[in-house]
């Protein structure tokens, strides 16, 4: 089980959290102008990164606040936890990210 450090509550078990998918997927500036394919890509298509991946989590049985996490999808190493709206920090270079070079 992951031990996740909630920015408000401190370290808690993974079972207290819910996953919110990929972070930094911006809402299109002008949705009306998108083709059906572009709209579908915005709604349904997400990166499938091997290595450091920025994702959203919510502390659902604690403070019920959302935050972003930079997690290595291979080693499950949590590299950074930062607020919603903050830019993605640089990933630490780990064996998992360099061996395949799959980070985006």
């Amino acid at each position: 089980m992951l031990l996740i450090s909630c920015p408000n509550c401190g370290p808690r078990d993974e079972t207290e959290f819910h996953y919110g998918g990929q972070a930094h997927v911006a809402y299109p500036e002008n949705p009306d102008a998108l083709t059906d394919r572009q709209w579908a890509e915005y709604l349904f298509y997400r990166d499938n990164t091997k290595g450091a991946f920025a994702e959203r989590w919510v502390h659902s049985t604690g403070c019920r606040q959302w935050f972003n996490m930079l997690r290595d999808t291979v080693s499950y190493d949590i590299q950074a936890i930062y607020k919603m709206g903050e830019p993605r920090p640089d990933a630490n270079t780990t064996a998992a990210t360099t061996s395949e070079g799959a980070t985006k």
């Binding site: 408000n8 509550c9 808690r12 078990d13 079972t15 049985t61 604690g62 019920r64």
Partner: protein
């Protein structure tokens, strides 16, 4: 929501109510081990959910009614008349005795609604949302640790703090009221499950210790 229906006679209301774990009351009594660990339900406490920015004017007005709004995770403010638990950066739970409820002659909900006024935020009467269990005794922490992964050692979890967490895999608030006494606030629909879970955890302490 301020207009809580008030019956002509509050006793009519009292007699009609059933608390979420009332059917377990005899089991709680027989399952408690005198001098070791005891479990009981404290039914019908008045609870009010408050959402407001602490730093705003409305936050200051609400704080004057509740006796302060806690600033960080774990903090509790107020006194025995009304205790305020921290649920989130802008979310609080005010817990007060049954008699504080407006339908029973109190004025807590109305006072909070008036303090908020028209400012952004909310004050919601949540008295029926949760019930209260009191787990006490020298083995209370051992019972809780069977279903709660927080560090409950006194050096980490101090008297007078409260945390929102999972107990027996269900979400609940845990308030430490004394060195060996805890109050647990599960939602009403989980009261039966959590009551039986805690009773199961207490069972081993009824038997003589195996040397």
């Amino acid at each position: 929501m301020a207009e809580t229906a008030t019956p002509a006679n509050p006793e009519t209301l009292r007699a009609a109510r059933r608390s979420p774990a009332s059917h377990l009351a005899p089991t709680f009594e027989s399952g408690s081990v005198a001098g070791t660990v005891a479990l009981k339900e404290i039914p019908f406490q008045t609870m009010v959910g408050v959402r407001v920015d602490r730093a705003s004017d409305a936050g200051a007005r609400l704080a004057s009614v509740t006796g302060g709004l806690p600033a960080a995770c774990g903090e509790v403010s107020g006194d025995e008349r009304a205790t305020t638990l921290w649920l989130g950066p802008d979310e609080f739970l005010v817990v007060a005795p049954e008699s504080a409820h407006d339908s029973l002659g109190g004025d807590l909900v109305r006072a909070l609604v008036e303090a908020l006024g028209d400012d952004p935020g909310q004050v919601v009467d949540l008295s029926a949302n949760r019930t209260t269990f009191e787990l006490s005794g020298i083995r209370a922490r051992d019972v809780l640790e069977k279903g709660c992964s927080l560090d409950l050692h006194p050096r980490a979890f101090r008297t007078g703090t409260a945390l929102a967490t999972e107990i027996g895999n269900i979400p609940a608030m845990l308030l430490k009221t004394g060195e060996d006494s805890f109050r647990i606030f599960p939602r009403a629909s989980f009261a039966d499950f959590l009551g039986r879970w805690l009773l199961d955890g207490m069972r081993e302490f009824a038997s003589p210790e195996v040397p």
